[in-house]
Amino acid sequence: MAVRFTRIDLTAYPVDAGRQGQLHQGFCQSGPLDPYAFSLANLLCGQQGATAIEFIGGLSIEFTTPAVVSVTGPDAEIILDNQLQQGWQSIQVNAGQQLIVEPARIGSKHYLAIQGGFEFPRVVGSASMVKREQLGGLHNDGKPLKAGDEVAVASVASEQKQPGALPAQLIPDYQPDVRVGLVPGYQHDWLSSLQWQRLLSSEYTITPQVDRMGYRLSGPAIELPSQALYSEAIALGAMQIPPDGQPIVMMADRQTLGGYPKAGTIARCDLNHFAQSIPGDKITFYQLDADDARAKWLLMQAAIQRWLSS
């Protein structure tokens, strides 16, 4: 079984949960920019962590065989052979049908999952494409899909059944301007209380310099004492403060080590909202300590489990 990507307006490429236990060799983590939307797209197809497509901009896909798919992410028009479909639900597709997705905003990240999962070459245990490392993708060269590409779909496990409808409270309310939790850590102590308050009370704008490695922000500069720092491991969502004081938030394809001081990390419970911001969007931060950030994340996981077992 295979599906054909007949139209790709901007970009589309494979993602799975990312590399596991490979950071120490210099392989970046990779995986979805919006891990929540990716994870739910798969759960809606009755599976976990299977290879899905992350895409920006419109998409058309043709099916030669029946399939169960789901589309998640911010607002998008989803059309299956002239029939309007819902995002964040599983969609039954018949052979010969065409699925069209038209995102409402250019730059938002969307996920297409299919029951069984898409089949792509795997490198260091993952099918996620990494442009910088020229790894992954249909030809394992770090290049995204092209219009006309056919992608194979793995056969479905016998008793793989999609769960019931997703409750509304599990669908994120993506907004252009978001407030995201910042977990103090790393060189947080280098910031004077004045600088920390400046970071928490100011509005930052997402600049055009956004990619899968990191998002550059612009706003009031954060001043840090100039101290020597050896390169060290960069956690997902870490906020680097380079010498110009303009924060850079490190995302899925970030390099594994870096020498800029870091004020903290974006809380996992808000990472999906942050990841969906596009150039021009306004971001504000609130302090969320590690214990509270973990508690909020666990509550999200518990709500997902309740839905799956209902």
Partner: protein, 235 residues
């Protein structure tokens, strides 16, 4: 979080990460403490540990938040028996051949101007030290080796190269490295190494691990081409 033993500081690195910073009289000692902690964690690997990323003077642990919180991780590490490993005997030694002055990777003149040493002296000094892999990062398989002899220390290039050739042996500050693949880079180049440091499809995709030792030895152009061919790469 209180320092303990060879740990001078502990900070959160996200709600699912902790980073431990080591103490020591110099960088080599600090890095040895990182290696000791890293090996202790591999030997007593807890189920909740998902990533372990050593660097110069730090080690980041990432954990499964379903299983543990950072308090539990801190307690586990504080109670971990850490052997004071003798890095001379415990680590792997890699002996890497270098065609010094290979035309595609030759900044010997620039290094000569910066250091006041002749090309022969630079090549000689570069081979004299046994280096430690302080960290692996920047790109898959890229190993930061230290410490370079102080008289070879050079600043980075004013204009970084867009494409440093695969296998280029480079120096910057008191570090040296071999580029595992073509990549941009701002270090001064001394020559080419024919050994493949990075095989993306292999079970062990990278040759060098943090804590390993590395020595360089000079080979001729002919030896380089012969070795490059056996390594299955275009000569």
């Amino acid at each position: 979080m209180q320092p303990f033993g060879t740990i001078r500081a502990v900070q959160t690195a996200g709600e699912d990460g902790l980073i431990f910073y080591t103490s020591g009289a110099d960088l080599a000692t600090q890095n040895q403490a990182v290696t000791a902690l890293h090996q202790a964690l591999i030997a007593h690997r807890p189920r909740w540990l998902t990533e372990l990323v050593p660097s110069y003077d730090s080690l980041m642990l990432v954990f499964d938040m379903i299983e543990v919180d950072f308090h539990g991780v801190y307690q586990f590490v504080e109670q971990l028996p850490i052997d004071n490993i003798n890095s001379q005997t415990a680590s792997t030694l890699h002996r890497l051949p270098v065609w010094y002055g290979a035309p595609e990777a030759n900044d010997l003149e620039l290094v000569s101007t910066a250091t006041g040493l002749s090309a022969e002296e630079i090549i000689e000094r570069h081979q004299q030290s046994a280096y430690t892999v302080f960290a692996v990062g920047f790109a898959p398989g890229f190993a930061y080796l230290g410490e370079l002899a102080a008289e070879l220390a050079t600043p980075r290039l004013a204009n970084p190269r867009k494409a440093v050739p695969k296998g280029a042996v480079a120096i910057a500050d008191r570090q040296t490295a071999v580029y595992p693949d073509v990549s941009p880079g701002g270090w001064h180049l001394l020559g080419l190494c024919p050994v493949s440091l990075y095989k993306p499809g292999a079970k062990e995709p990278t040759l060098m691990q943090a804590g390993d030792k590395v020595e360089f030895y000079a080979i001729s152009e002919d030896e380089y081409h012969a070795l490059a061919q056996t390594a299955g790469r275009p000569a």
